[in-house]
């Protein structure tokens, strides 16, 4: 009861109080160190990522320039390239100039085409992000209602049939990787039925198949989590109390249950987004989608190391940013989250 004895924290006026309260809450969290700890973790991870990306070039056995240009390339060319890349300088100064270059947006130039890697990234990143974000939105929009519906139907072991169908169908959907979905979808809808273009990015229709391929597994996974979470919430006392209050079903499920299941659902959704960005590499490859994924595969195959290095660095940074955002979002959404202790 100690809190009730505390002097009133200058009661915020009814209007204008909302923003103030939100700010206060955010500040409270800074004080509690949650945001700070997350920021520190992010910066450290980013540092590790930079060093790893730098090291990648140096860990390649032998001479990357020679490996890239092939044994037939004249020795002068190799030497010139090495000098241009600064590969003969002391390792530490190379690292420093690498990091400062990256922060200035200079990721080097392609061995093969001579294009600056920055331009490759700038032109292709939006295509990759667009695909991943749209797929996440589609997955969430389908999965949450689906999971809730399944939970309500199967509450307390009712409708065994629905439960078995739901778990096996989602289980199978999760188990099949996205590149198989894309191949299947291409074969049926693009090559067979000719409803959608089989490859490339040309207008809204060309998004349909890639998004579907990317979204199927996450949808199944989120729907499962959402069902389990909803089932758990349905067993809680506040639901019993809400039922004792005889609330209409829609109000019970959407106002009371849904907000409590969202935390876990969004956590998984966020984690999936990171996985989805990587999965998009395969889907881009199948659909020849002009994104980063297609380009990184080409660059690895062709030993175009600066491009591979730059793009993998960008992918890693995206994953870190996504994870950070998900964490922060959860911290705001769920004030009691256990997350904050880590």
């Amino acid at each position: 009861m100690a809190e009730s004895l505390r002097p009133s924290a200058a009661g915020p006026s009814a209007e204008g109080g909302r923003a103030g309260r939100a700010l206060g809450r955010a500040l409270g969290r800074v004080r509690s160190g949650f945001v700070l700890r997350r920021a520190v973790r992010f910066v450290v991870s980013l540092g590790v990522l930079l060093v790893a990306s730098f090291a990648m070039m140096h860990l390649i056995p032998g001479d990357p320039v020679r490996a890239s240009l092939g044994p037939a390339a004249p020795a002068e060319l190799v030497t010139a390239r090495r000098a241009a890349l600064g590969l003969d300088e002391p390792i530490l100064s190379q690292l420093l100039s690498y990091v400062s270059n990256v922060f200035r947006g200079d990721f080097g130039t392609s061995f093969l085409s001579g294009e600056p890697v920055r331009e490759i990234i700038a032109s292709r990143l939006p295509n990759t992000l667009g695909l991943a974000l749209l797929a996440t939105v589609v997955a969430l929009l389908v999965a949450v209602p689906l999971g809730m519906w399944a939970a309500i139907r199967t509450e307390n072991g009712r409708n065994r049939g629905t439960e078995v169908t739901f778990t096996s169908a989602t289980g199978a959907a999760i188990a099949v990787p996205e590149f198989l979905y894309s191949i299947a979808l291409v074969t049926v809808f693009a090559i067979g039925l000719r409803w959608f273009p089989p490859a490339g990015k040309a207008g809204p229709v060309s998004y349909v198949l890639p998004i579907l391929s990317l979204a199927i597994s996450p949808t199944a996974m989120i729907a499962r989590i959402c069902r389990v979470e909803t089932l758990r919430e349905l067993g809680m006392d506040y639901v019993r109390l809400a039922r004792a209050k005889r609330l209409p079903a829609a109000r019970l499920y959407f106002r009371h249950v849904l907000p409590n299941t969202l935390t876990a659902t969004l956590t998984v959704g966020g984690m999936l987004l990171a996985a989805l960005i990587a999965g998009s590499v395969l889907v881009e490859y199948v659909f020849a989608w002009p994104g980063l994924g297609l380009r990184v595969v080409e660059s690895i195959t062709q030993k175009d190391y600066p491009v591979a290095q730059g793009v993998i660095l960008v992918y890693g940074a995206i994953v870190l940013v996504v994870n950070l955002l998900v964490d922060l979002l959860l911290g705001v959404l769920d004030p009691t989250s256990k997350l904050k202790e880590t």
Partner: protein, 608 residues
């Protein structure tokens, strides 16, 4: 593990994985030659009788190659998983044996890596190690490791608190030895379980790498590589991609289903199953005329669950306005289910039957749905044990109170909120307007319980059912809540059914006491008689177990030996007979609940 293949999913998963293993062992032996046989007359063919899935650019039969490639696919996945598992377990065990700071560092690294997609790591290693199986396997092994490390860490932490680990530590066993001898063996099972799932994941990831042309390189081939080749020809002959795609999909599904089923079997093993033969519950009794004044009148209330489990057996109870009735019993006596049955909240598949179930003069089972909702929603208030669990953590306190008024009484939002604040003030929550705008976790435990009571006061409660409302609170707060409940009954004239296992609290608060044992009422008496006038041996034992009632404190505590029969195994006769000192042959027959004195009824053959 014995229970595995009972479900269709279990059977399918086990069969698929078994098939993959057999294929991996036998495939190359049987179809090895066929898969390598070059036939320049039949290159790049589609489906035909001789080659059901077509041929490749050297005229080799694709079906045979798919069947042969299983070995390499599975073997590489296994190597990657083993690398990852070994590295992960070591990484996960390290924090338990390292000094604090180093341990923190390892934990932090693992936490950061867990969220990192495997394919990215695999591409990273592929750049370094060059194209080929080696780079892909290393990368995917590296991607598998953090998951194992995290799992080992959590599991080890949960075991580390166990008594035997504490004992080993006390005996001076070294930390490494504690880890290997005590901790790891106890967490082996979930780790092995995770292995199945990781194996499936590794297989798919490797297939993906090979499909991108970054994994297995010719002349070797795995399913992913075959798919790579087939995909290039998908416009001309889609069938050639079908074989490897199906193989990858089936392997993925197989490992996933098996992992799922294994995990479920493991978690189920913790909970023993228990069901007993069904037995009809007798007792019918005269109904008589309904009591028009009673707030609650229940006759012959029975709650049954499938399998003959009957936690509430023919319970009858009448509560007058303003009366506080205590329902006391051990856990499992059916007292909480009685409350749920009255509130219409018995969970499926429980079934409620009653000779009569009247609330505020109306039979709830005869009212039309909408009216019943309104009646229960406004006239009945429920207070549960854990106020944190009873309040929705995601919604503000005031909003949760207000919705009773908006939904059932058609109040406007503002009016409803004002009423909510008023009710919060009524239960003496300081600064009610501020509190109403807060979330439940910002309130103390006692305040939360007050808020729940206030929620009951939003309507015009005629009956308050309080199910162990003070058990989760500490002693001083308990008293305040009890006082509040009494005040509320005095002021509103509502009746209260107060359910508790604590006979001291009941004795303090209630006017009348109803004692339940094994689903039946065994005694019903005015509170004044509780201390010295109880007639049933069980009630007397309960009272005697209390040091602070009017008992002689020089006597040792009379605890009751034995335990209450579970709802599935209640005997035909007196359920207390096993534990009763007065039991005789007569007690094999069920003693009826009969008047004993004025306002006092008892169900015991020995009470005279």
């Amino acid at each position: 593990m014995r229970h595995l293949p009972r479900t269709p999913a279990g059977i399918a998963g086990t069969l698929l994985v078994a098939l993959m293993v057999i294929l991996a062992i036998a495939g190359p032996l049987i179809w090895g030659a066929e898969a390598e046989r070059i036939d320049s007359a039949a290159i790049l063919q589609g489906t035909s009788a001789a080659h059901p899935l077509g041929t490749d650019n050297l005229g080799r039969d694709i079906l045979a190659r798919v069947l042969v490639a299983g070995r390499l696919s599975l073997a590489l996945a296994m190597i990657a998983t083993l690398i990852g598992a070994t590295a992960g377990v070591i990484l996960g065990a390290l924090p338990s044996v390292l000094p604090r700071r180093a341990a923190r560092l390892v934990t932090g690294t693992v936490n950061a890596l867990v969220a990192f997609p495997g394919l990215l790591l695999a591409m990273f290693t592929a750049v370094i190690a060059g194209l080929g199986a080696r780079g892909a396997v290393l990368g995917i092994g590296a991607a598998v490791a953090p998951g194992f490390a995290r799992l080992t860490q959590t599991l080890a932490a949960s075991v580390a608190g166990a008594d035997y680990v504490a004992v080993a530590r006390m005996l001076g066993v070294s930390r490494w030895r504690v880890m290997t001898r005590h901790v790891l063996p106890n967490i082996a099972e979930p780790l092995i379980l995770h292995l199945t799932q990781a194996l499936g994941g590794a297989l798919l990831a490797l297939a993906g790498m090979s499909f991108l042309g970054l994994g297995v390189q010719p002349p070797s081939f795995d399913w992913g590589r075959l798919l790579f080749d087939g995909f290039a020809r998908i416009y001309a002959t889609p069938a050639v991609a079908l074989g490897p795609a199906a193989a990858i999909a089936l392997a993925g599904i197989g490992f996933n289903l098996l992992g799922d089923v294994l995990a479920r079997a493991a978690s189920r093993r913790a909970t023993p199953a228990g069901a007993a033969a069904g037995r009809a519950v007798p007792e019918a009794g005269e109904l008589g005329e309904p009591d028009p004044d009673a707030v609650l009148e229940v006759r012959d209330l029975t709650v049954t669950f499938p399998g003959g489990v009957t936690p509430v057996r023919g319970l009858s109870l009448t509560i007058a306005p303003g009366e506080i009735v205590g329902l006391v019993g051990e856990s499992g006596s059916g007292k909480s289910l009685t409350a749920s049955a009255i509130g219409g909240l018995v969970p499926y598949p429980g079934e409620v039957s009653a000779g009569r179930l009247r609330l505020c003069g109306a039979d709830v089972r005869e009212l039309p749905e909408a009216e019943c909702r309104r009646l229960l929603g406004t006239s009945l208030a429920m207070v549960f044990q854990d106020p944190m669990a009873a309040l929705n953590p995601a919604l503000k306190v005031g909003g949760q109170l207000a919705e009773v008024a908006t939904v059932h009484q058609g109040a406007s939002r503002a009016d409803a909120f004002a009423r909510a604040v008023d009710r919060l003030e009524h239960v003496r929550i300081p600064e009610p307007a501020t509190r109403a705008r807060q979330h439940p976790h910002e309130l103390s435990g006692g305040m939360r319980q007050r808020a729940v009571i206030a929620m009951g006061l939003m309507g015009a409660p005629r009956l308050i059912i309080a199910d162990e409302p003070t058990t989760a609170l500490d002693v001083t707060v308990q008293r305040e809540i009890l006082r509040l409940l009494r005040e509320v009954t005095d002021e509103t004239g509502a009746a209260t059914l107060f359910i508790s296992h604590d006979i001291a609290v009941i004795g303090e608060l209630c006017h009348r006491v109803v004692v339940m044992y094994a689903g039946r009422v065994v005694e019903e008496l005015p509170v004044e008689e509780l201390a010295s006038g109880a007639a049933h041996p069980y009630t007397r034992a309960l009272v005697a177990s209390l040091p602070d009632m009017e008992t002689d404190r020089s006597l040792p505590l009379a605890s009751i030996p034995g335990r209450q029969p579970s709802p599935a195994e209640v005997p035909d006769g007196c359920a207390f007979a096993d534990r009763c000192e007065l039991a005789s042959a007569k007690c094999a027959e069920l003693p009826p609940l009969i008047p004993y004195r004025a306002g006092h009824r008892v169900a015991c053959w020995e009470a005279k």
